[in-house]
Structure formats: structure tokens, C-alpha cells
């Protein structure tokens, strides 16, 4: 099990009892779980409970997943549902105040929740895509995304790469990222032709 093992292979191995495959799944998708948890502003103890419940539920369900590629979506949705349950639970244990609007404790706009859930899944897709890139691409992109951005001269000396090839390699690596299965699954684009190709393909 490596950082680039496809999710379907991890799901299959974990279903068969491979703890290492399971650990890789946990390492990969806990950021997604937490991202959704943080959106709901739970108390720290409740956040930990939701995280634990999510993984316990996945242990039960992993052998029953029909489409392993849908795992990130399952994780995001299940986490969201558990967060809502937790918020309701908090609300119930507080004294009833007739002056308060009933949904105050869950005063999160549903459209915002949907948008943030989508954003969390987008970031997960980016991480999954990034994982599939070559070492060279991952090294270069990791350097370039630093804040503030480094000079090409610094990147050139740090990665022992000709300064003239940094720009073209950056373009090539980002295009590779766009064509990884994780990103394509998310954008719904055709494997070839990029955004324009996908738009044309819909006609």
C-alpha cells in the first residue's frame, strides 16, 4: 500500500482485513472528515465523537460499498449527517427558551452547508489527484505553492532543475493533475480534451 494505491484497491484490501490498507484510507480521508466537522462548529469533544463514529460506521460498511470511487462522497455525507445529529443533540440538552428561534443552534444556512461540503470534496479530490503525480511533479508543485511564492532561481537551485524548464514543467504537472481520475471524476470531464472537450461532448 503506497500513497498512490487507487482507492478501489484500498477498499478491497481493507474489506479483506488488511489493516495497512485501512490505515491508508484513514490517513487519506480524515482531512475530509475534519473539514466537514469544522464547518459545523462542534465542540472539540463532539468533533472527536463524530470522527470516531464515522470510522466505526465505515468499518461496517466498507465491504458493502458498491462503488469504491464514491467513498469520498459517502464520507462527506455521512460526516455531515452525524454533525447535524450532534448539533440537535446539543440543542436538546440545553434548557428550552421560548424566546429563542427554534433552529438557533443549527443556524447554518443549508445552501452554505451544501457549498462548503462541495468545497471540502473538491479539496479532497485535489489531494487524491496530487497523490497520483510523479515525485518530480509533487516536489515542484509543493515548492511553487509556498506562500510567498519562491523565486524560480531558488526553486532551480533547490530542485537542481534548469530555470528555463520550471515554467513548462509547472504547466505540464498541473495539466497532469487535471487529468487524474480523482479530478476527472469530480469535474465530470471526458478523459481527453479538457474543459472545452467536455463542453463539446455534452452536445
Amino acid at each position: 500500500m503506497t500513497h498512490a494505491t487507487p482507492i478501489a484497491a484500498l477498499v478491497e484490501a481493507a474489506s479483506a482485513g488488511d489493516q495497512r490498507a485501512w490505515n491508508e484510507i484513514v490517513d487519506r480521508y480524515t482531512p475530509l472528515v475534519l473539514s466537514v466537522v469544522y464547518q459545523h462548529r462542534l465542540r472539540p469533544a463532539d468533533a472527536a465523537d463524530v470522527n470516531q463514529t464515522l470510522w466505526l460506521r465505515l468499518v461496517e460498511q466498507i465491504g458493502r460499498l458498491r462503488d469504491p470511487d464514491a467513498l469520498p462522497g459517502w464520507i462527506a455525507t455521512t460526516t455531515r449527517n452525524e454533525c447535524l445529529r450532534m448539533l440537535k443533540l446539543q440543542q436538546r440538552t440545553q434548557p428550552f427558551d421560548p424566546q429563542a428561534t427554534d433552529e438557533q443552534a443549527v443556524a447554518v444556512d443549508q445552501t452554505d452547508v451544501e457549498a462548503e461540503l462541495l468545497a471540502a470534496e473538491r479539496r479532497q479530490a485535489l489531494r487524491d489527484g496530487f497523490r497520483m503525480l510523479s515525485d518530480q511533479c509533487r516536489e515542484l508543485l509543493a515548492k511553487l505553492m509556498a506562500d510567498p511564492p519562491p523565486s524560480y532561481a531558488d526553486v532551480s537551485s533547490q530542485l537542481d532543475m534548469p530555470i528555463g524548464s520550471i515554467g513548462p514543467t509547472r504547466i505540464r504537472c498541473l495539466n497532469k493533475l487535471r487529468r487524474t481520475p480523482a479530478i476527472l471524476a469530480f469535474t465530470g470531464a471526458a478523459p481527453e480534451g479538457g474543459v472545452l472537450g467536455a463542453a463539446l461532448g455534452q452536445r
Binding site: 465523537d49 470522527n51 464515522l54 470510522w55 479539496r123 508543485l141 505553492m145 487535471r178 469535474t187 479538457g194
Partner: protein
């Protein structure tokens, strides 16, 4: 809508995604990894939550002030478990009714055990914090609920 056609935006969003992953507390990863110990090898019947009073919006709108007990129903083929959770404890009812051994489990292991009477009724103490599940053994058959925070 995706904004991923711009190299700048793609790189920026990728940076944010990787930063988010780097800040995950170790305790969350450990809890996730440890959950694998609960993998069931045999085909034990899993009772899924089919009703939860706190998610019942109709009920909440109707009589919020009188809601003192949380009601849950777990279901599977021909088997149902109804429970009511209050601060005093958990009262449960098995369907079909009958004698059974009922255990309350936490991620750490066994928390409490009791027996259901011939009518399938049982009582357990107040639930501990965090996710729990109930496991019932009826005539040598074991069924258990999915994990839930009560």
C-alpha cells in the same frame, strides 16, 4: 464553475487542500485506525438506524418542550430493536419479543450487559459519552446495531 482551468487558481486551491491535510490532529487518525478492530469477520446481522427522534423535524416542531426521551429504532430483516434513552438510562424492546442477552458496547470494549425478559424488554444504565452500539444474542444468533452517539 470549477475554476480549475486557471493554473494560478488550481495551484492555490491545491496548496490550501494540502495545508488542510497537514493540520489533522494525530488523535483523530489514531481513533480512525483503531476502529478497524471492530471489523466483523462473520456475517453478523447489522441493525441500521431507521428512526431517530432528534432527526424527526415534525416531532421537534410539534412538541419540543416535552421531548425528554430520545427514541431510536434499529431494523434489519425480521428483527427490530426500539430504545428510549433518558438521563436515567436506556430502556429497550426487542421484536420479535423474547429472552436475550443485551450488551452495550463502546469503542473501548464491553461497557454493560443485561438480559431481556420473555417480552423482550430490557434496561441499561445511563449511556457513556461517545459512540455506542447494542449487541443482542437471541437463541445463539447475534445481532448488533450500528454505532451511534446518544
Amino acid at each position: 464553475m470549477q475554476h480549475w482551468d486557471s493554473d494560478e487558481r488550481l495551484l492555490g486551491e491545491l496548496g490550501a487542500a494540502l495545508t488542510e491535510a497537514a493540520s489533522v490532529p494525530a488523535s483523530f487518525l489514531e481513533a480512525g485506525r483503531a476502529a478497524f478492530a471492530w471489523r466483523t469477520i462473520d456475517e453478523e446481522l447489522l441493525l441500521l438506524t431507521s428512526y431517530d427522534s432528534i432527526l424527526d423535524t415534525e416531532l421537534a416542531g410539534r412538541a419540543r418542550a416535552v421531548l425528554t426521551a430520545r427514541q431510536l429504532v434499529f431494523d434489519a430483516d425480521g428483527f427490530s430493536l426500539q430504545v428510549e434513552v433518558t438521563e436515567a438510562g436506556i430502556a429497550g424492546q426487542l421484536m420479535p419479543p423474547g429472552r436475550a442477552v443485551v450488551a452495550l458496547l463502546t469503542p473501548g470494549g464491553h461497557a454493560e450487559e443485561t438480559t431481556a425478559d420473555e417480552f423482550g424488554s430490557f434496561l441499561l444504565g445511563p449511556p457513556p459519552p461517545g459512540p455506542i452500539r447494542l449487541r443482542c444474542t437471541v437463541d445463539g444468533t447475534t445481532v448488533q446495531t450500528d454505532w451511534i452517539c446518544v
